[in-house]
């Protein structure tokens, strides 16, 4: 049984309310932090090794230490609750069922950063969660954890929820800041980084919900204790949101270092494949990270057990690895059509591109168009190389990582499932008129392609 530090109280009746949350020990980290210096709190987070849980995995304590304290400008903490990566729904779960944990984390983290005005930026589609957070913030304010002179410490903090309006790009931290300023979510060129010039050109730290929610435990128990959980540079626990062809979809808190095999097959977690069909592929970290075929899921290219860590999931680079990303764990059985799935993701990235950079604005559209014609049985053999060429010209050539996110799934699908693309091109009559997402189990028709280039 993995240790739980975020969801350990999730089954306590009424934990959504301030009264129960406080009775269960809530807000203790604020009391403790207010007796420490802000730098001491930052140091604990650094010691913990906590890495940003939004996808990039950058060390949170280091990010905090970059904040410009010399400018004399107001500083801000902004929580990125714009959870929009396909396959990812963990932050919503946390905010919906234990909202005070995030608010406690926001207060403790804001104190560490010297911020007196902080925001939670939540995606507009989570409107009922927005209202849950607003109610919880009001409860915290009434109990004296927000406002002027918190608990007599002399520290002031105002905290508000701000809702977006349907744009995946606003999960990118500079686009999120633009949106928080009431503008289109166009990412900014970095540098300057937000720690120097962020919200209203003030020093700003943007952290994901799960990252901020881990801070109370770290302050209460010390960074050193947190660093004991997990393996190597993948310290602590991680929320994984699991979906697709598995018996038990949902949100799980795991200790980093758990094997992918155990996570996939044990009854404590996903419980194996639904309908007992064979496993074909999985995406471990949300739609933007590379898909891995069955032979690379449980073992790395070196034959070692694949673990749920930043390092093990990316082992061997994109040729044989993927990324932990946001923890959006999508599982595909043998009836899943990789080409149709890749087209679906490409449509998503085309739709969500802000249009600021030409390689992304045009390239995502080309990817979608070419994939669509292959998928619908009008593709040409050279289209597969054309797709490879287009994705390679998007990656690394855009202001923000959305371009990379659009390119990687296509590259991985061709790298690992080229034979399936070839099958689509050579046997279009097999593709047409099938039941939407359901493909023939590819193993049964693989021989038709001839040379298989996995």
């Amino acid at each position: 049984m993995s240790q739980k530090i975020l969801l350990d109280k999730i089954n306590v009746p009424g934990i959504k309310t301030y009264e129960v949350y406080r009775r269960e020990g809530g807000y203790a980290s604020v009391e403790k932090a207010l007796k420490m210096t802000p730098d001491e709190v930052v140091e604990e987070v650094k010691t913990s090794g906590l890495r940003g849980r939004g996808g990039a995995g950058f060390p949170a304590g280091m990010k905090w230490s970059f904040i410009d304290k010399k400018s004399g400008k107001p500083r801000h903490l902004v929580c990125n609750a714009d959870e929009s990566e396909p396959g990812t729904f963990k932050d919503r779960f946390l905010m919906e069922y234990i909202p005070h944990l995030l608010i406690e984390g926001m207060i403790t983290s804001s104190y560490a950063l010297g911020a007196n005005l902080s925001y939670i930026y939540i995606r507009g589609e989570y409107m009922w969660v927005y209202k849950i957070l607003e109610r919880a913030i009001a409860e915290a304010r009434n109990a004296g954890w927000l406002g002027k002179n918190i608990q007599g410490s002399g520290y002031d903090l105002e905290l508000y929820v701000h809702c977006g309006a349907g744009a995946y790009i606003c999960g990118e931290e500079t686009a999120l800041i633009e949106s928080l300023e009431g503008k289109r979510g166009n990412p900014r060129i970095k540098p300057p980084f937000p720690a120097v010039s962020g919200l209203w050109a003030n020093p700003t730290v943007v952290n994901n919900v799960e990252t901020i929610a881990a801070v109370p435990w770290i302050v209460n128990n010390s960074g050193a204790e947190y660093a004991k959980i997990g393996i190597g540079r993948s310290t602590g626990t991680k929320l994984i949101s699991a979906s697709g062809h598995i018996k038990n979809p949902g949100v799980y808190e795991i200790e980093l270092g758990l094997s992918v095999y155990e996570f996939m097959n044990s009854d404590e977690y996903l419980g194996g494949m639904s309908s007992d069909r064979p496993l074909k592929a999985f995406v471990p970290g949300g739609s933007s990270v590379p898909v891995l075929p069955a032979n690379l899921i449980y073992k790395t290219a070196n034959g070692e057990d694949r673990l749920m860590t930043y390092e093990s999931l990316s082992d061997g680079g994109f040729a044989t690895g993927s990324m932990l990303g946001s923890g959006g764990f999508i599982v595909y059985n043998d009836t899943s059509c990789i080409v149709r799935n890749t087209w679906n993701f490409s449509r998503f990235y085309h739709h969500e591109s802000c249009g600021q950079c030409s390689p992304c604005r045009e390239g995502t559209g080309w990817l979608e168009k070419v994939l669509h014609r292959i998928e619908t049985g009008t593709g040409r053999e050279e289209d597969i190389d054309l797709l490879w060429d287009i994705q390679s010209k998007i990656e690394g050539n855009t202001i923000c990582p959305l371009g990379d996110a659009a390119a990687w799934p296509v590259a991985a699908a061709i790298r690992h499932f080229r034979d399936e693309f070839e099958y689509h091109v050579r046997f279009p009559e097999k593709i047409k008129n099938r039941d939407h997402f359901v493909a023939e189990p590819f193993e049964q028709v693989k021989h038709l392609v001839g040379k298989v280039t996995v």
């Binding site: 396909p86 409107m127 309006a165 289109r184 739609s287 595909y332 679906n344």
Partner: protein
């Protein structure tokens, strides 16, 4: 292509105005523009879930920014509607995890049942079906959003019942 101009009655009630000012107070006094997205949500909810050009101009006036600053935001974000839409907008998530669980068939079923195509309101203006990108409910697929709420683990029976409940006015669209 000619763009159709839609008009609507504008009604900024004292209650709505108070809520707008409260939202503006969440930001520094000289940063009222930051309240634009939340304010647009409130104004849209109070105006049959869409925003005419005239209404956008009114929002610009209230916040104290140029109309074009509102237009560029409304046209960028998918949750703002620039034309009248069906009262009950069924927004099906059409991204991969929902597709793996049959959302495409369910959209077809709903459209056939209502006699509409995706993106076209029913003749009585009651219903509309729309495909949207990932709504963050992948483990509970297939799903849709209706007003402020998520409806998960959908199937044909649930859709049938939902349509009946909408017609019987049993559905709350916004959690106030």
């Amino acid at each position: 292509m000619e763009r159709k101009h839609y008009t609507q009655d504008i009604n900024i009630s004292p209650e709505l105005m108070a809520r707008i000012e409260e939202l503006c107070s969440h930001y520094p006094e000289d940063k009222r523009k930051s309240a634009l997205l939340p304010v647009l949500h409130e104004v849209q909810d109070a105006h049959d879930n869409w925003l005419s050009i005239e209404l956008q101009d009114k929002v610009a006036e209230i916040i104290g920014i140029k109309p074009v600053e509102v237009y560029e935001v409304v046209s960028f974000y998918t949750m703002y509607n620039q034309r009248p839409i069906g009262k009950f907008m069924f927004e099906f998530c059409q991204t991969s995890p929902c597709c793996l669980n049959g959302v495409e068939n369910l959209m077809d079923y709903t459209c056939n049942k209502l006699g509409v195509k995706v993106g076209e309101p029913t003749a009585d203006g009651m219903f509309e079906v729309r495909g949207v990108e990932c709504l963050g409910a992948c483990g509970y697929a297939p799903m849709m959003q209706l007003g402020d709420f998520f409806l998960e683990h959908l199937n044909e029976e649930k859709i049938d019942q939902l349509i009946v409940d909408c017609r019987d006015n049993k559905i709350t669209l916004h959690d106030k």
